[in-house]
């Protein structure tokens, strides 16, 4: 018996030890900054800066190297976890097609000379092209669009060809720049990031944004054999090798630097990449338009768009909870904050002080047919769509931006269109324009370089407008370009030009043919969520005729067909075409609202008559009953 007890005790010992070891192992995987201890106070980041080699940066180093975010921030925060998050995972992390969620804003490759504006993205959204499909290598993609990428993702990929791999050793990796969002230093200059990216100073880009560092030179000008660790001055004295200088006094006696880090990024940080402006004919200055009502009410972007260390940020649309692992996604949409939850469940309405809307007089069918944003977001619709500019599309916030309203790409908004879930929502829209190879029904864009060489040569004699707009293309221009493409490029099928919803090709006798509404020429749209207007500026606040009138922009506004093709440049489509609604029905229904006041008057008068009859005969019946009860005949 005693032996059995001892044996049992020995056998049970691992069971006691193992859970502790498992728990210890689990907590060992999390780094110091991955989990909160519960304090809402911000930790002070007086920390050493680390190079990409893992060496501590010292102000007397030679050569002085830029700090690496993966090594500096990664000392306490799990960099590999962070870079699987939404801002970093496009094209590099397999999160599953569904997890990419609702379509969003693409990158837009635009070139006025060749009449191109094409949506591209590493995300598998319908209607966009992968950068490699339009001939953009990783490096070229980064040079063009890295200005508004927070680093990471494809920025850390080595490249496909040996020459690109060599260049990536000179330029370095474009690491995730934690400071893009989390640097609260008022001297943080994100525009400097864009400038460094253009020079291929990827290794230096993050550090260049700091107020205590200055980066000079250009990795782009260095030969493939240049080694930043042992830099040799270039042969050409005009070329300057990339170098960094830290401000005197930035380092303390222990060679640490004070970084002003905030977990809750300020709206200013988000604005660099996520600003919008709508050119509605009036002065488009910031002071003359209002910010999103949520910001005016005191919220910041990250009050709604939250994430944990996984950086799986909430995008905030209805249905996101079905595809997102973020446990707050269901309660961080419009409905999630503003409307009561299921009866009986734990109350979640009114988060962050969100008012619960009454929607006085609004038939509930609207909530089945429209998103919240249809009435509350974006600019108040006008007779025609406006040109819109965004940070990502138009390089807003960087040096040397073309401030002209007509600068490419041409983004139109608001376009009220039906989404995949069947609800109508406001969208931004671009009409793709590109040169392509059409074989059978497949339309494949021709590479950007090839188009620039061939079509660019044909269009060289065109004077480009100073506004950045594309020049008008005549039918002859298109014919000439298509013939040049067919002759000079390896076209498997036939060369075509997609623009303004139409496909242009040459027929057997060399004449231009146009096919309208070709599937490959469909516009690309992405939903608008901001800026949210206050309730007093929602559609329908005046009367039903804000939308249900025969001239209401919601159904009958003109969506400009944007194209450089001269013959159709000023054409437009009606908004109802994008809503899968019969135009005749829309007009008839809108017209019926003219009679709505009369309907109300007739109905109320009829009720009054019915009420009077009931009252009169009810009183007479009451008199009879009372008489019978009192014995009268």
């Amino acid at each position: 018996m005693r032996r059995i007890l001892i044996l049992t005790g020995i056998l049970c010992l691992p069971l006691l030890v193992c859970p502790w070891r498992v728990a210890a192992a689990e907590s060992e995987q999390k780094m110091l900054g991955d989990e909160s201890d519960g304090s809402r106070a911000h930790p002070i980041h007086l920390i050493p800066l680390m190079t990409e080699e893992g060496e501590k940066v010292s102000p007397d180093d030679d050569p002085l190297l830029p700090f690496s975010t993966s090594k500096t921030c990664g000392a306490c925060h799990s960099y590999s976890t962070v870079t699987k998050g939404w801002h970093f995972n496009a094209g590099v992390v397999d999160i599953g097609i569904e997890a990419h969620g609702r379509v969003g804003q693409p990158w837009i490759l635009a070139d006025a000379r060749t009449g191109i504006q094409i949506p591209i993205s590493y995300r598998p959204w319908p209607g966009v092209f992968k950068p490699e499909q339009v001939g953009l290598s990783r490096l070229l993609f980064l040079k063009i669009f890295g200005r508004h990428i927070p680093g990471g993702g494809v920025g850390e990929q080595p490249g496909e060809e040996p020459s690109q791999i060599m260049r990536s050793m000179v330029s370095g990796k474009l690491e995730a720049n934690c400071l893009s969002c989390h640097d609260a230093d008022p001297g943080h200059n994100q525009a400097e990031y864009a400038a460094q990216v253009v020079r291929e100073n990827f290794r230096w880009a993050a550090a260049a944004t700091c107020s205590f560092a200055a980066v000079t030179g250009s990795a782009k000008d260095m030969p493939d054999t240049y080694d930043p660790m042992m830099p040799e001055p270039p042969d050409d004295p005009k070329l300057v090798a990339p170098a960094i200088a830290y401000r005197a006094g930035a380092f303390d006696s222990e060679k640490r630097v004070l970084l002003n880090i905030e977990r809750e990024s300020a709206a200013n940080r988000c604005y660099f990449c996520h600003s919008n402006m709508y050119i509605d004919g009036n002065d488009a200055e910031k002071w003359s338009s209002d910010e999103d009502i949520h910001l005016t009410a005191g919220l910041t972007c990250v009050d709604c768009h939250r994430n944990g260390i996984d950086h799986n940020i909430i995008r905030g649309y209805e249905g996101e909870a079905d595809v997102s692992a973020n446990r707050l996604s269901a309660t961080s949409s419009c409905k999630g904050c503003h409307l009561p939850g299921e009866p009986g469940a734990e109350p979640t309405a009114g988060r962050l002080g969100a008012p619960v809307p009454e929607h006085l007089g609004l038939p509930p069918v609207h909530f089945e047919r429209l998103t919240c944003t249809a009435c509350h977001s974006g600019p108040w619709p006008g007779e025609k769509t406006y040109l819109a500019k965004t940070s990502m599309a138009h390089r807003l916030g960087t040096v040397g931006v073309n401030k002209s309203a007509e600068a490419l790409p041409h983004v139109l908004a608001p376009v009220f269109a039906k989404q995949d879930d069947g609800k109508i929502a406001p969208h931004k829209l671009i009409w793709p324009a590109f040169w392509a190879d059409m074989k059978d029904a497949n339309v494949t864009p021709i590479g950007f370089d090839a188009v620039r060489q061939t079509v660019g040569k044909v269009m060289a004699k065109h004077e480009l407008p100073a506004s950045g707009d594309w020049p008008a293309l005549s039918d002859e221009n298109i014919v000439e370009a298509l013939k040049a493409l067919a002759a000079e490029q390896k076209i498997r099928g036939k060369a075509v030009y997609i623009s303004g919803g139409s496909l242009y090709s040459l027929n057997g006798s060399g004449q231009l043919e146009k096919e309208m509404d070709h599937p490959a020429a469909r516009p690309y749209m992405w939903p608008i969520a901001h800026d949210v207007r206050p309730a007093a500026q929602a559609l329908g606040v005046r009367y039903c005729t804000d939308c249900h009138a025969t001239d209401a922009p919601f159904f009958f506004g003109a969506v400009a067909v944007d194209t450089p093709v001269a013959a159709v440049r000023d054409s437009a489509r009606e908004m109802s075409e994008f809503q899968d609604i019969d135009a005749t029905y829309a007009k008839a229904f809108a017209f019926s609202f003219v009679f709505r006041p009369m309907l109300k008057i007739v109905a109320l008068c009829s009720c009054a008559v019915l009420g009077l009859v009931l009252l009169l005969y009810g009183l007479r019946a009451l008199r009879c009953v009372v008489g019978m009860l009192s014995g009268q005949d």
Partner: protein
């Protein structure tokens, strides 16, 4: 007038119940426009019928001894000689008044929801009232028509 009311009522019933019962969705589209076109006509017809028929549809002594017995019982008095029931005329009258009474919530539930007075909760409530009152109304109207045709055919 009665015919117009019946036709309008039938259109309203079909356009109102078909999408809900058959398609499982809110009324919309051309059905909605037809429904909204016939509705004021129907309301006006009901008001006119109320005025025109209220006199002849009032309950009288010979309509049915049940009511006389009820009133006497309430007053604690003997009824006296009973008169034979007037037959289906009583039923028609009762249904007539039921239809008039139901018309009020039927019309008001929708008209009130058209004004910016009530929020989503009450909008749904009014819609529910409209639906269920309409269902009872349709049944009562059908019964009324049957009794009316029986009377006319005798």
């Amino acid at each position: 007038m009665y015919l117009v009311a019946v036709v309008c009522g039938a259109v309203l019933a079909i356009t109102g119940f078909y999408p809900v019962l058959i398609k499982g969705e809110h009324i919309s589209g051309y059905l909605m426009m037809l429904h909204a076109t016939c509705a004021p006509v129907f309301a006006a017809c009901m008001a006119a019928l109320a005025v025109m028929w209220a006199g002849r549809c009032r309950f009288e002594r010979f309509d049915c001894p049940l009511t006389a017995r009820l009133v006497s019982w309430l007053g604690g008095k003997e009824t006296g000689d009973e008169v034979a029931c007037g037959g289906s005329g009583v039923g028609q009258k009762a249904l007539f008044w039921l239809l008039i009474v139901l018309s009020l919530p039927l019309i008001l539930s929708i008209v009130l929801s058209m004004f910016p007075l009530f929020g989503t909760h009450y909008q749904n409530l009014f819609l529910g009232i409209h639906r269920y009152v309409a269902a009872v109304f349709v049944l009562a109207a059908a019964l009324h028509m049957v009794l009316l045709f029986r009377t006319r055919s005798k």
